[in-house]
């Protein structure tokens, strides 16, 4: 203990004292020879070995890590910030957009849904920092995940097209990590890992003729969408004058012809710059430029006279990390293009989906206020994302998720949003574990139709956002059971719970069992001709996927949202098992708010499973999309 204490003091003397403690008499007496000795201990090397190294703790990396860990893989997740969530975190505060933009039924499911349902239920105060801790809690609660925060990727070691290890640095702990893994995922957003590994990547805007994209530019260039810096403000009881810094830009009414200021509690995605330069390498200047824009716009709001209602408002939070929309895109075995978004295909290797419009932003941003800040082409419906766009073509073991996947610039204008990125994350996390378990290379999984079908079944079982895949899981005992219920509605027949479709797919059918709850406690049961053995029952409940559900700093984003548990969701119920007509409770649930709920128990042999609904979160109908039973 004593030795450690002395080492600690020595480290301070060298590592920090040079800057902060040189004036302190206590440390000024450290001898020069001791300093030399101390120097060796700064930035010590720490080695790890794992199944899956994920670089980047944004929504893609978080979902990839949770998915892989839950499927049995050992995961190390490195994140260069102290908080998870990336663009969605409290450090940037962009709300997670996705297929809800279609205004149909397509809110994403799976791990993302679990995260946002948890946030809506447990963070009704809408604290952004608490949203960060929803992510943190979910990640650290997985025993298979080692989370290394404040840890930045700096190097990669590659041998014969195989990523062997990466090097990362944690500045606050003065550690350099050497992390060996079987598989790697680049969820950095900037494709830093893939680029450093030597993977082929794309940058800028491809020309129309390259892939016959009508939305593309006529002549290819290096321009991209810009980065954005956001702010929040609060209303006070008194006038709150504002004086901008001298370096703030000056704006007049003409600058807001295409950029509407209708509220200022949160603003604005169009505080955007950097698309004309390098959104990565020019980042230091870009941040300052964005701050000069942000304070300039706030000056306009406060002092132009055009918004006298802002009199009592003052800035309460200003972002310091520009949120990036675009940088490198790694070339995979398939490059998604405009046509794949606008005229969706059912890729045989589809593993995720998107639904945000083709929403491209001209590169000039706030340097070109005379032109519109975006061109957004609405989509007719969701589109599938192929697995072949989610790994690097030139490496054998490098997955991709997030904005740096294999897409054209035009396709990126849709795939870049975070809900879509999150679904990619779940896809690759699950894929990694599947490949490892079945001893497949990534490309073997991509090209083997039988394996891909089995993999898609696994994704569906785990509630991944995936289109046109129905439950064909041979291990699901529920598919062999007969279904009866205490009651059902005309559009919510009991047999729907095993129809293979676990959500509203916009076909006019409910695909769920519905029963009136006012006349007692409805139940639904699965009965087998002969007793079956099982240790797992899983439910898919209704969480109102037709609505948007996300934390946002902007009040209007909550219009139409249900904060707290979703009213359609079954809250309290009892899961029972039966034998020859006699039932006993297996497990009781209170205050459920999740869509996917799995009950695990010691194996039982039973001929009937029954679920008795005691309460919903407000809906008059008990609703269940799907019940599955397994002996795992």
């Amino acid at each position: 203990m004593e030795t450690k204490r002395r080492d600690f003091i020595k480290c301070l003397g060298m590592g920090s004292g040079a800057f902060f403690f040189s004036a302190s008499p206590g440390f000024s007496q450290i001898q020069p020879e001791e300093l030399a000795e101390v120097n060796k201990d700064v930035f010590k090397k720490v080695s790890y070995e794992t199944d899956f190294l994920i670089a980047g703790g944004g929504m893609s990396g978080v979902c990839a890590a949770i998915a892989a860990a839950r499927n049995g893989a050992k995961v190390i997740l490195i994140q260069n910030r102290s908080r998870l969530g990336g663009n969605a975190s409290s450090e940037i505060r962009m709300h997670i957009s996705g297929a809800s933009a279609l205004r149909q039924v397509w809110r994403e499911t799976g791990i993302l849904e679990e995260l946002v349902l948890t946030e809506a239920a447990e963070n009704t105060q809408r604290s952004y920092e608490m949203w960060d801790f929803v992510l943190y809690d979910k990640v650290v609660s997985e025993k298979n995940i080692t989370l290394l925060l404040d840890t930045a990727f700096i190097d990669v070691q590659v041998e014969n097209g195989i990523v062997k290890s990466i090097t990362a640095i944690c500045s606050p702990t003065e550690e350099i990590y050497e992390i060996k893994a079987k598989y790697f995922a680049d969820c950095t957003g900037d494709a830093t890992l893939a680029a450093k590994a030597g993977c082929e990547f794309m940058w800028g805007r491809e020309e129309k003729s390259r892939w016959n994209e009508s939305l593309a530019v006529d002549v290819a260039d290096n321009k991209t969408m810009g980065n954005s810096l956001l702010f929040m403000s609060q209303k006070h009881e008194k006038s709150m004058p504002y004086t901008p810094p001298k370096w703030a830009r000056k704006y007049t009414t003409k600058d807001f012809v295409h950029r509407k200021i209708t509220q200022w509690e949160y603003g604005y995605w169009w505080l955007e710059l950097g698309g004309m330069e390098d959104t990565v390498k020019e980042g230091q200047q870009n941040r300052h430029d964005l701050l000069s824009v942000l304070f300039g716009v706030w000056d306009y709001i406060k002092n132009s006279g055009n918004h006298p209602e802002s009199e009592n408002w003052a800035l309460s939070w200003v972002g310091m990390i520009p949120g990036k929309r675009e940088s490198r895109r790694v070339v995979g075995d398939y490059i998604m293009k405009q046509g794949d978004i606008q005229s969706p295909k059912m890729f045989p290797d589809r593993v995720a989906y998107g639904g945000w419009p083709l929403d491209d932003h001209p590169p000039g941003g706030m340097n070109t206020t005379g032109v519109v800040p975006y061109i957004s082409i609405p989509l007719k419906g969701p589109y599938s994302i192929p697995f072949k766009s989610l790994y690097a073509k030139s490496m054998d073991n490098l997955f991709l998720a997030g904005r740096n996947v294999s897409v054209s610039h035009v396709a990126l204008s849709s795939t870049r949003v975070m809900a879509t990125c999150a679904t990619m994350g779940q896809a690759i996390g699950t894929a990694m574990a599947y490949c490892e378990k079945n001893q497949l290379s990534i490309r073997q999984l991509a090209n083997n139709q039988q394996q891909m079908k089995k993999f898609q079944q696994l994704l569906l079982r785990q509630d991944q956002s995936i289109l046109g895949v129905e439950n064909m899981d041979a291990n699901d005992l529920a598919r062999k059971a007969s279904v009866t219920a205490s009651s059902e509605t005309a559009d919510g027949l009991a047999r729907n719970i095993t129809d293979g479709i676990n959500r509203d797919i916009g076909d006019g059918k409910s695909h769920q069992w519905r029963a009136e709850i006012k006349n007692g406690e409805p139940w639904i049961s699965l009965k087998w001709n002969s007793p079956v053995r099982m240790n797992k029952v899983q439910f898919i409940f209704d969480t109102g996927l037709h609505r948007f559900l996300r934390i946002s700093p902007q009040d209007t984003v909550y219009f139409g949202q249900e904060r707290g548990p979703q009213p359609e969701t079954v809250a309290d119920y009892t899961l029972e098992a039966g034998r020859n007509g006699a039932y006993y409770p297996l497990q009781k649930m209170e205050n459920n708010f999740l869509r996917l709920v799995t009950h695990e128990f010691e194996p039982i042999t039973t001929d009937t499973i029954r679920i008795k609904i005691h309460k919903t979160h407000g809906d008059e109908l008990a609703r269940i999309f799907e019940i599955r039973c397994y002996m795992d």
């Binding site: 009508s214 009414t253 003409k254 132009s304 006279g305 006298p308 083709l358 061109i375 609405p378």
Partner: protein
């Protein structure tokens, strides 16, 4: 029936054939520019081989007025054809002006239903929007071909228009909307703009600045810079007063700091306070903050105080308080009367100005 712009001037030559088969691929057009009074100003092709001629119509004084073409084209989709006969009109910058269909050949919707006045109104709005996403769609993207309605008409397929794009097409007439939008806003429009640019001179500049077409107003303002702004000051002030759309906000940017110091300019602009919208008045007040206001200008300014909103009045009184000139008695009386204002800040400002004025030499 669409809007018909009657020919007022000299018809030069009307000989236009616009013939499109599968129109979805509008190829780049070769162009032949007319010289001065040439009849046909744009000759072009569509789909590489189909000739198109557009003529420039001039007014009674020989000034370019609008562009015109006559279209008679079968537009086909999967074997179904619809003969569209229509006259098209653009302004001098290639923006949609109007269309006209002949008697007996109305635009029709699904199952031969003729366009209602509401349909024409919507069509006009859609065609006027150069930024419509129709630019980026192929017809296949616009409709859900898996839900095709059976009909012997092209626009039969419109029954399956997806709801997310319904607001940008005339209901039951996706096909016609799509065809017309691309004719109006495609390469012909670009060619028209280029033609006008090649003819643009000082006379046209002045006509644009004094026109009622906000596209013309924007276009001309863009050509004003620090070197020539003094030359167009009356027109700029006119656009601040009466410019269409957002033009006044762009017009006010064209007055240089040097021009703001001119008494005549100050007077003419301050005269507008009370007649402009709130934001435009703020733009004027913001620009006066560091400018010495002339005696004439101040006289008008004080007289206009009564027309200002409270927040503007506070700003205006700050500007007046910072001036180094002595106010006359009429002005002082007006400002002193503000000492009864319900807003205590304005009362204080008013008192400060009156007392401060007495201290000035």
């Amino acid at each position: 029936m669409g809007i018909f712009y009657k020919f007022r001037g000299l018809a030069i030559k009307i000989s236009v054939f616009f013939f499109a088969g599968i129109f979805c691929c509008f190829n780049a057009m070769a162009m032949v520019w007319g010289n001065g009074g040439d009849s046909t100003v744009i000759e072009s092709t569509i789909n590489d081989s189909i000739p198109v001629e557009v003529q420039l119509e001039v007014d009674g004084e020989g000034h370019p007025n609008q562009y015109y073409t006559h279209v008679r084209t079968p537009v086909c989709k999967e074997g179904l054809c619809y003969l569209m006969v229509i006259d098209l009109y653009w302004d001098l910058l290639g923006n949609f002006l109007a269309y006209k269909v002949p008697e007996g050949r109305p635009l029709t919707k699904f199952d031969h239903e003729p366009f209602s006045p509401q349909d024409h109104k919507k069509m006009t709005e859609i065609l006027s929007n150069k930024d419509s996403f129709l630019r980026f769609y192929t017809l296949d993207n616009l409709v859900d071909t898996t839900q095709k309605k059976s009909s012997d008409e092209v626009d039969g397929i419109t029954g399956a228009t997806h709801k997310s794009i319904k607001s940008d097409v005339v209901g039951g007439a996706v096909y016609s909307t799509y065809v017309l939008w691309h004719i109006f806003n495609g390469h012909l429009s670009d060619s028209i703009l280029r033609h006008t640019e090649s003819q643009f001179d000082k006379a046209m500049m002045e006509r644009f600045l004094s026109s009622n077409n906000h596209h013309y107003q924007y276009y001309a303002l863009e050509k004003i810079n620090q070197d020539n702004s003094a030359e167009y000051l009356p027109q700029i002030i006119q656009l601040i007063a009466n410019g269409k759309s957002y033009v006044p906000y762009f017009a006010v940017e064209k007055i240089s700091p040097r021009d703001w110091r001119k008494p005549e300019i100050q007077k003419n602009i301050l005269q507008l306070l009370g007649t402009l919208n709130f934001e435009m008045e703020n733009e004027i007040l913001n620009r006066l903050q560091d400018v010495p206001i002339s005696e004439d200008g101040m006289k008008v300014f004080v007289e206009k105080l009564d027309n200002l909103e409270e927040s503007q009045l506070i700003k205006a009184l700050d500007i007046i308080n910072n001036q180094e000139i002595r106010l006359n008695e009429d002005a002082l009386r007006i400002i002193a009367s503000l000492s009864n204002h319900p807003n205590p800040k304005i009362v204080t400002q008013s008192e400060n100005i009156v007392h401060g004025n007495n201290r000035l030499p």
